[in-house]
Symmetry: C3
Subunit: 429 residues, 3 copies
């Protein structure tokens, strides 16, 4: 049993190497570097022009998402560690499936946009990871990564090439998709035994500070996320500016509503860690449109408010009534703000902020993203439920010591006071 | 009472949106992207050329300043959280007031330099925040942000457009200004009850490590801070090189003097976290001048030494004799090194390192920055002292649990062993 | 005795300033900024083109290496603090010695590649620091920095200008060199008294999370490290792409083998923190060659596997049989993967992936790097063993409180439960 995870990881890496050998090539020479005298700055020759934006996105994926999930007191190793594992697998797999879909039978030539898109495709899985955090095993996450990125690439192809909708910051295709996919998986894998919560499902003071490392790097680099693959010039510029101001506005309403809904007007770290980012999600679809900065601030303000209200009122209902337990509250950070972003896109297109799309095309993209995510997530959940993968027992949830050698001082530590014999994994990893 | 903070935050955000709707526009199309065939690289068309430097500054503001202040054992949520809140408000407000002053009645067109300057204007508030850290409420910080950025923009306009002095790295207009503004506020809000210190006003081992995250990102990206708005070419290049070497030299003297002044030659984390950055502050005014790398190293060496000596000998005198309590020691990191930077600028201009200014113009700028800061800070302090805002009681200082829902494990935790009933806020938040 | 460290630090800084005054100049005006109409993009005029890559490397040096070493429970201040100190000294000294060797008697003109190379030269010392972490004093580290960078620059000159070998990502000249230099020093300074380990030589939960900050920033920016000084165009592009995919593949095998070799299939944080980076080391020499992405994935996969096996089986043998105690396991992260990289380079050149070198030249470079490192390290070790420098006693190893004022709450803290009287330093710092 203990060999399943390592053998699966090795098998997947061997498969990636073989597929890369068959399908992937370097970008050809003359495209890499733009001759300064030529004025046709096509996509392929902007490699080092976009490299700083790629690195910003790269930081978001590995540090941002990784540390954002370290808020649980005993699940930091897995949060940041499994995040690294599935992102490393996902970027290889994403390069392949997105490349194959968009290359129309030719070889995949690795340009900077392929690398940015590969990072994007992992974002979808990392969002879904938040919904099931602490409740599934690394082996299950490897499987989910393979399934989800394939479904994501299919929906992304549908949205971009069939519906020809615009979604530059991926409010719909990444954020809403990742959230609803993860919620569907969480619904299938629902654990009635954890209905009343779990002792481990809480933060400690310093784990909340570690999570803020993730929050801040996501917040800072979100303008790069929304503009990285935008068309050079006006559109890319607007994607930066709109995201910058949307996020700033979002912070104010997130703080205000956190204080409004909490006991005695205090602030809640969960809201600050998450809802302050909702402005980046919600402005995504319209980010490159000429919507005016104050409109992006309105979108951000609404997103911050909606996200806090979701954490306060919707997440408990999901857990109890809908039997969907969402560990990180991805519905509030990515789901609802993603839908807000999709709706804002429909309105913006209807009002003429972009002539690249129509309201119907945008609505189809939103519907497709949510629909594909739910169907794909349900199927993925059923596959993940197969007993061959194994999953942690209820009492072992949110506990690094199930998958990790935790430091041997643990018996002296407050946060790890359980006896060693308590960890049961059914069936073993 | 508990509604004051959220309602003020919402009101301010609504005001920002209205003002943006009235005064702010996108940069016009043709300016954003430089046609590769044209050779006139004017300021407006360098958006993505300067974007990496903007992002470096952005990291300094949100991660650098935020984590630098997490050194207090029970005030990490507020340090990093209120830092985010006031920076998000400040960058909107800074965009407006700086834009209005410099646009001469026209609409404000958002270019990359507006965004960099908006981030800069928040730096002033974040420096002042360090002087009052732990002693005032989030609501008071919102008020202080609005006042300070308005005064800052006024002084910056005076220095740049009236005195026509040069201060590329803002030793005077940001660092000295922010420090003396904060000290003036701290003086007005002096708490005799904390004359003998406070149990919470100390670090724990891991809070000192969190603070080093802030220190390092500030240290690394300081060359970008000092060069971001410099004139392209030689000047911008020199701003990077001078800052890089000034900071490196500063580290050596900061370590040396920390060991010299401490008991048995040991190093003090407070010095390492702060004085290692003084070289970036002090070289600011001269950063883009042709002063020679070894001169910037001398400036950095002096700054590291002065900063450590300030922490060791001046801060206690301020607290006891002058009745000014400076939580983070911003006088030693930003005040003294800022003055050193202003003086170095006068000397450098006198010696002909720049023909853009005269010693008298530089001296006027230094005097104006300190004078405006003190007067503005005194007024701000009197306004913040009004009972309508409320502020933490003496015993509640430096304690996150006054403003935040701290994790419920707190009764089991060493760092939070007080009884719940102890928290009093007069009047309530 | 207590004045040796500060006086040495001041003396070294004074020496640096004098040497900079004698040998260093700004880059001359016309080279800094590339006129957009000219097409000859020579090295000197790419300052701000390469600046983002420089900053990525800068983050790796100060945040990456600094936090990677914070895994020890009581040695975080020294890890991140001494890392800053020796990197700040090293970048000044590296600028000088590399500059003098390559400038052929002329003045050193500071361009972006000088700054990148200065950061690189500090990397060598920081790698060696990992081998002796916790066992030597800050004063000893200053001495080691001066010696090692001089030897490094000599070997680098030999490899690049005499053997004319290619090693763009410095698998041999930085990683293998730094590791074997450090191991030689560790061998000379071997402490029989610590044969059975030390209570302080272990991590705690949050120190392992701090270390992951270092790991992730190293992992993310490694493509910049391997490409920063590559020739613009195809080669620089390939250095990014090959490193990106090598690292991704390396993660999968590092996780798989960590699980395979550990008790009950659990993952070990030491492997995840270190072996996931081995792919960046091992692909270094070939990074800019036309080796095909799937080959770089194979190199990365092998490196991840070799690194984990080294931690599991080789490090204990080194400590017991060879009497070389390697605190951070730099042999497994930098030594073995560096040799793998050097061998891969020989094979790649033999198969025609580069026409800039021959297998014999590459083999000479590998031999020279390891040989020079061992000889230099042995000499450095003997110098460091001189009683005049002082070094911590066996019982004081891995303990910040020997060199730092640790917070006074320490008697209440679990991680610092020793009595105060226990710290002995022989002779005193």
């Amino acid at each position: 049993m203990r060999f399943k995870f390592p053998l699966m990881a090795i098998a997947l890496e061997v498969a990636m190497i073989v597929l890369f050998g068959l399908f992937v090539q370097y970008e050809t020479d003359q495209n890499i570097r733009q001759p300064p005298s030529s004025s046709n700055s096509t996509e392929v020759n902007r490699f080092f022009e976009l490299y700083p934006l790629f690195q910003d996105v790269h930081v978001m994926i590995f540090v941002g998402f990784g540390f954002l999930m370290t808020f649980l007191k005993k699940y930091g190793f897995s949060s940041v560690g499994i995040n690294l594992l599935i992102a490393a697998l996902g970027l290889q797999w994403g390069t392949l499936v997105q490349g194959i879909l968009h290359s129309h039978g030719k070889k995949i030539h690795i340009g900077i946009k392929n690398m940015i898109n590969a990072d994007f495709s992992t974002a979808t899985v990392l969002i879904s990871f938040g919904a099931v955090l602490g409740k599934i095993s690394p082996l299950q996450m490897l499987i989910m990564t393979i399934i989800e990125i394939a479904v994501f690439a299919g929906n992304e192809y549908l949205v971009a090439e069939i519906f020809m909708a615009t979604d530059i910051g991926a409010s719909m295709t990444i954020h809403a998709f990742g959230a609803y996919f993860g919620l569907a998986v969480a619904g299938v894998l629902y654990r009635p035994g954890l209905r009343r919560g779990h002792d481990n499902e809480e933060s400690v003071y310093h784990s909340d500070l570690f999570a803020m490392i993730g929050t801040l790097f996501l917040w800072i680099f979100w303008p790069s996320f929304n503009s990285a693959i935008a068309e050079a010039g006006d559109k890319q510029y607007r994607a930066v500016v709109n995201t910058y101001f949307s996020l700033a506005a979002c912070v104010l309403t997130a703080y205000a509503f956190s204080s409004l809904v909490e006991h005695r007007g205090k602030l809640d770290m969960v809201h600050i860690q998450n809802a302050t980012l909702a402005g980046g999600v919600a402005v995504g679809t319209c980010a490159d449109m000429a919507i005016h900065p104050y409109i992006s601030m309105i979108i951000g303000s609404i997103a911050g408010m909606v996200s806090v209200l979701g954490f306060k009122f919707l997440t408990p209902v999901f857990a109890t009534k809908l039997r969907i337990h969402d560990t990180c509250g991805v519905h509030n950070l990515h789901g609802l703000p993603g839908v807000v972003g999709g709706l804002a896109g429909i309105v913006a297109v209807a009002l003429g902020a972009s002539d690249m799309s129509t309201p119907a095309m945008q609505a189809a993209a939103l519907g497709s993203s949510i629909g594909t995510a739910i169907v794909g997530g349900l199927i993925a959940g059923l596959i993940l439920k197969l007993p061959i993968w194994g999953q942690p027992s209820d009492q072992n949830c949110y506990d690094d010591s199930v998958f990790w050698e935790v430091p041997r001082w643990r018996e002296h530590d407050h946060h790890f006071h359980e006896h060693n014999g308590h960890n049961h994994l059914e069936p073993e990893l």
